[in-house]
């Protein structure tokens, strides 16, 4: 349980950074939104994978 919370910190920070960069990129260059969007979602998904794997392992691994 504590490990799950701890493992949520990393992806949380990472996803925040990704969308911060996405927002500032769109603010500077609104016409690039569609290109940036797919890149941002891709990064979001890759960062989130870590936490999802932890959730799966938390249920699978017997303690």
């Amino acid at each position: 349980m504590i490990g799950l919370g701890l493992s949520a910190i990393g992806p949380g920070v990472g996803i925040g950074l990704i969308f911060a960069a996405f927002i500032s990129g769109v603010a500077r260059q609104p016409e690039a939104q569609s290109r940036l969007q797919s890149i941002a979602i891709l990064g979001f998904v890759l960062a989130e994978a870590l936490f999802i794997i932890t959730v799966a392992l938390a249920f699978v691994l017997p303690i």
Binding site: V45, I52, V55, A58, I63
Partner: protein
């Protein structure tokens, strides 16, 4: 597992009849048996999704007109989205049409099966059982490996996938196993776990808010009742979040499949 045990112990000691949802909530009893083989709800839902998608695509493409009607417009919007933003941007304009049928059916299949999770009476996202996700990931794996082998030959593809260009010398000893591990072995695992984990966790959250809210409301304590109402409100919020996540996961699965195909097709730079 400790999550499940600790929650259920706390819940039972506090108010008796409440069982916290866990992985057991996803093991539904069979609906009916066909010669000792139990047919469960997710299996029926999968068949239903195939029928729904067939009906939708046939109806949308049946009476094609120059000025599209509502149904044809919807079909064309989905098809155009998959073909242009997913396939063409990632695979490249030369070979992308070969993969559009696969990507389109993949996208529709995952989308419909995910949205089962919030449709009343169905309310079970079939991809929250990992057994239904693994075959999809394996098919995607075969498709992109097969594409690479078709384009570069067997050893050409292995070289293409494991040797980053512009690197030479002893660092290859370190890089080749790492690239092999990440490009060939881990990709189907992460594809599976991403879709399964999102659906599973989202559905678990919804169950938790609904059953927990009901248990708190019926506990008889006024303060607990207030928290129960809060829990229902949060559950509604989470449902909307889930609607977003369901679409996003279908999009991401298809996006990653097409990116892998595009990468397998890419020329040496």
């Amino acid at each position: 597992m400790s999550f499940h045990v600790s929650l259920s112990e706390g819940g039972e000691s506090a108010e008796g009849g409440f069982h916290a949802p866990g992985p057991g909530s996803f093991e539904l009893p069979p609906v009916f048996h066909v010669a000792d083989f139990g047919v469960t709800k997710p299996m029926l839902l999968l068949i239903l999704s195939a029928v729904l998608i067939l009906a939708f695509t046939i109806a949308a493409s049946g009476k094609r007109q120059l000025v599209p009607g509502r149904l044809q417009f919807a079909g064309e919007a989905v098809y155009g989205f998959v073909r242009n933003t997913l396939a063409r941007d990632n695979i490249g304009s030369e070979h992308y049409m070969k993969f559009v049928p696969y990507l389109f059916s993949l996208f529709m299949f995952i989308l419909v099966n995910n949205y089962y999770g919030i449709i009343p009476f169905l309310q079970f996202s079939s991809f929250s059982r990992i057994g239904f996700v693994i075959p999809l990931a394996i098919i995607s794996w075969f498709v992109y490996i097969g594409t690479g082998v078709w384009k570069h030959g067997l050893f050409g593809y292995l070289k293409h996938a494991t040797m980053p260009s512009g690197v030479s010398g002893p660092i290859l000893l370190l890089l080749v196993p790492l690239e092999f591990f990440s490009n060939i072995l881990v990709r189907p695992v992460t594809l599976t776990l991403r879709l399964f984990g999102n659906m599973f966790a989202g559905h678990l959250l919804l169950i938790l808010f609904a059953t927990g809210g009901a248990a708190l409301l019926t506990s008889g304590n006024l303060l607990y009742g207030g928290v129960g109402i809060l829990s229902f409100a949060l559950g509604i919020g989470v449902s909307f979040l889930e609607m977003l996540v369901m679409f996003l996961q279908a999009y991401v699965f298809t996006l990653l499949s097409s990116m892998y195909i595009g990468e397998a097709l890419a020329d040496e730079h």
